[in-house]
């Protein structure tokens, strides 16, 4: 072989390459290993996150309830007939206490009684009231009812399956014994937690539910969708089909891209200063929340709608224009229907983003403690993520469970929306 270089023969070159091979392959393996480790870390994070949430939250879907023989004694209730007014004043708490005392007749001292009464949720009287209201005949009669247990009881009962001792917290030995008795006699059972889905927020974990937050999220998203989709699509049409290439258009473009990356909390400040302070719109209302989220999701929708419009081949436009259609007709009759699936996909993804958003809504007062279920877009309301934030802050152990359960509900909505977006894209995707 001839010399390739003046002082290095091909043989020498081969040798030198051989010398380095082992270390180079080692480096290659390390690099590859790092790659695998990174991907594995990401996947692990997903798994840990989901198992953590699910293991914490699945308990919230059941709720301990205590079976009691309740007598709707007119004397205890302090009423003689059943009507709106008497129901309001009736002493249902007394009825429940009576029933509890009957079940555990040995209890005498005052402190013991207080312990005993705290077995049942403070919301239980409302259950009885509703029963009596729907069936006035019950007055003076005795009935077996399942009443929601207090959250401390619930937490204790649920923790019993983890360890023999269970998590006591504020539960005294005496109370634990009663609970054990009730469990053994089948008078305390874990039943499906309907309260969680049918009630609004409450200070008492066993009475707290996500219905108000869900409806708040619904109204907020409704406002967001109604505003952001048409505006976003219109903006995309203008930018993609009409806008001349000039400084003004560039400015709009730069603006949209920048807005997409502005921290969400800044939108909250905008909402507070402009919508609430300047326009004096009601605080805590889904209307304002929707407006803020509209501004936030607009960039996403505009960007995806533009991509959808871009994907429609120019030949379609040329065909329509060639037949004498005006530009507007071409767009609205031909281009827009073809681009619609892409736009809808973008809208769903934007809505999913909006559904998970919390920070800006804190600014406009959707963080208030609201028990009532909202009925419109101007009622004070909270949304699911904010409800999660509020509950996460509560010290009671039972709220941890409910927070995780609310997260599970939120995540399932998000997963459903994203899956819908993916399916929609797949199903309606056109190949030109």
């Amino acid at each position: 072989m001839t010399d390739t270089n003046r002082n290095l023969t091909q043989e020498q070159v081969r040798q030198r390459i051989e010398q380095h091979l082992a270390s180079r392959h080692r480096k290659e393996k390390v690099f590859r290993g790092l790659g695998i480790a990174s991907v594995a870390f990401g996947i692990l994070a997903v798994l840990v996150l989901f198992t953590d949430i699910i293991s914490k939250g699945s308990g919230a879907f059941v709720q301990s309830a205590i079976q009691l023989e309740v007598t709707y004694d007119p004397l205890v209730l302090g009423i003689d007939k059943v009507d709106e007014e008497s129901l309001t004043w009736a002493n249902f708490t007394g009825v429940i206490r009576e029933a509890l005392r009957e079940r555990f007749p040995k209890v005498q001292s005052r402190s013991e009684k207080r312990e005993l009464y705290s077995l049942v949720s403070s919301g239980a009287p409302f259950t009885l009231r509703k029963r009596l209201q729907s069936d006035p005949e019950l007055l003076g009669k005795t009935q077996t009812v399942w009443l929601t247990a207090d959250d401390d009881v619930d937490t204790f009962v649920k923790s019993l399956s983890d360890s023999k001792e269970g998590f006591r917290g504020r539960t005294s030995d005496q109370k634990a014994e009663w609970i054990q008795q009730l469990i053994d006699s089948g008078e305390l059972k874990k039943r499906f937690n309907t309260t969680f889905f049918t009630q609004g927020d409450s200070r008492e974990p066993e009475q707290a539910g996500i219905r108000a937050a869900l409806l708040g999220s619904f109204f907020t998203l409704l406002v967001t969708l109604v505003l952001s989709f048409p505006i976003g699509v219109a903006a995309a049409i203008y930018l993609e089909e009409y806008a001349p290439k000039n400084k003004w258009t560039d400015l709009i473009e730069v603006n949209i891209n920048n807005l997409a990356a502005v921290p969400s909390i800044v939108f909250g400040l905008l909402g507070l200063a402009i919508f609430i302070n300047f326009f004096e719109l009601p605080r805590s209302a889904p209307l304002v929340g929707g407006l803020v989220l509209t501004l936030m999701t607009l960039p996403t929708i505009i960007i995806s709608s533009r991509a959808a419009l871009k994907a429609v081949p120019p030949s379609i436009r040329e065909a329509a224009l060639g037949l004498g259609a005006s530009r507007m007709q071409t767009i609205f009759h031909h281009v827009l229907p073809l681009a619609m699936p892409g736009m809808l996909t973008g809208a769903i993804i934007g809505m999913a983003q909006a559904l998970g958003e919390t920070a800006p809504l804190l600014m406009i007062g959707m963080v208030a403690f609201i028990v009532d279920v909202p009925t419109g877009i101007t009622d004070p309301a909270t949304v699911l993520p904010v409800q999660i934030f509020l509950w996460a802050d509560s010290p009671e152990r039972a709220f941890v469970e409910r927070t995780s359960a609310a997260i599970m509900v939120l995540l399932s909505f998000l997963i459903a929306m994203n899956t819908a977006a993916v399916l929609l894209r797949k199903k309606l995707e056109r190949r030109w």
Partner: protein
Amino acid sequence: MQTSTLFALLLLLILVAYGAGISRALTVAHKRGGLRKLAALPGYYGSYTALWCGLPALLLLGTWLIFDDAIIRALVMDRIADKPDTIAGQNLLYAQIQNLASGRLIGDAAPQLQEAALQLNRLRTGSRNLQAALSLILAVGLGAFALLRFSPELRAREKVEQVLRWVLLTCACAAIFTTVGILLSVLFESLRFFQTVSLTEFLFGLHWSPQMALRADQVGSSGAFGAVPLITGTLMVSVIAMFVAVPVGLMSAIYLAEYASKRVRALAKPVLEILAGVPTVVYGFFAALTVAPFVRDLAASLGLQASSESALAAGLVMGVMIIPFVSSLSDDVINAVPQSLRDGALGLGSTRSETVRKVVIPAALPGIVGGVLLAVSRAIGETMIVVMAAGLTANLTANPLESVTTVTVQIVTLLVGDQEFDSPKTLAAFALGLMLFISTLMLNFVALHVVKKYREQYD
């Protein structure tokens, strides 16, 4: 008349105008012998009339609704002789008057206030009646005008399309309005803030304690508003997040783009993207209840003292949140590097990792840097994770195991709950917001510019 009834009435009028336009066009066309004699389809004449009828009236109504409260307030307050000097005092007074006017406040108030309340009610009724009358007259009048102007030669389609085009343009400008809105809202309140606290104190002060602003022995009488501890806290959390997100995000993007088989890619990518779809409040919950105790216990087992709201826990979780962001941006730029460069390097006998490290990454570097800048701006602006998992008290420290607070946390704590719009405490939140907006805007601007330039290079 109620505003909602007015709206309904206007909508009805618009529909009527639409129908009238169409029927008018049809009758004329019929007389002249066919639709071809018209310059546009009847539907366009309908839309044309409807636009004339509805658009000006709705615009008037909108403007009216925006400004009537402010004008009424000015009129009412003008009549009151001895007004308080402060804005807060005036607000309070006006709220009193409003309550009086709506009958919510029962009891005896100063006669001056009662009179003002009566005037307020008068003005309100008057305004509402005037607004209804004006917009209805406008709608009917202009609708009729459009019908009268009708002629078969009228190019209704072009006119309608012109209006539509303006509507489209307005929508496209929504982004600009938003930016301007953000700027105005944070700028004005910030300026008011800087009237009480000097800019230098805000930017270079080492002490932040707005909550105790009312205590007399505090620095000044208005609390301490030195933002340095917030800035360092924000930076610390962001840097920790970047230490997690950039290597993991970049390496997983590289692995998935350069090494993984199609099947692994098809499986791993969506899983990683799940991380991007999880709401930040969920990460916050996870950070506060799972990661923070874990970090604390781990530190304790190593003989270290860690706060239960450590910067490390918040930063780690934020890093996890940003992984998919970094990896999808890196994936884009790595895929934009032409295959021919890889072939060139492989053809010379590079190993895959050499190709990646010495050719692909250097070629993709501008794009990756842009992506990382965007990620940094995300970390700085992230709110929920730090609100839930980082501390509330400003702490000037370099120890990631201690608790720190961030700009966003302070904005939230200052603004959640009742606000007085002229206490420096509330206004400080807007000053922080301005700072946040400007810094992220600059980061985004640079990042987007870099990425764009990079894309052009390989297009």
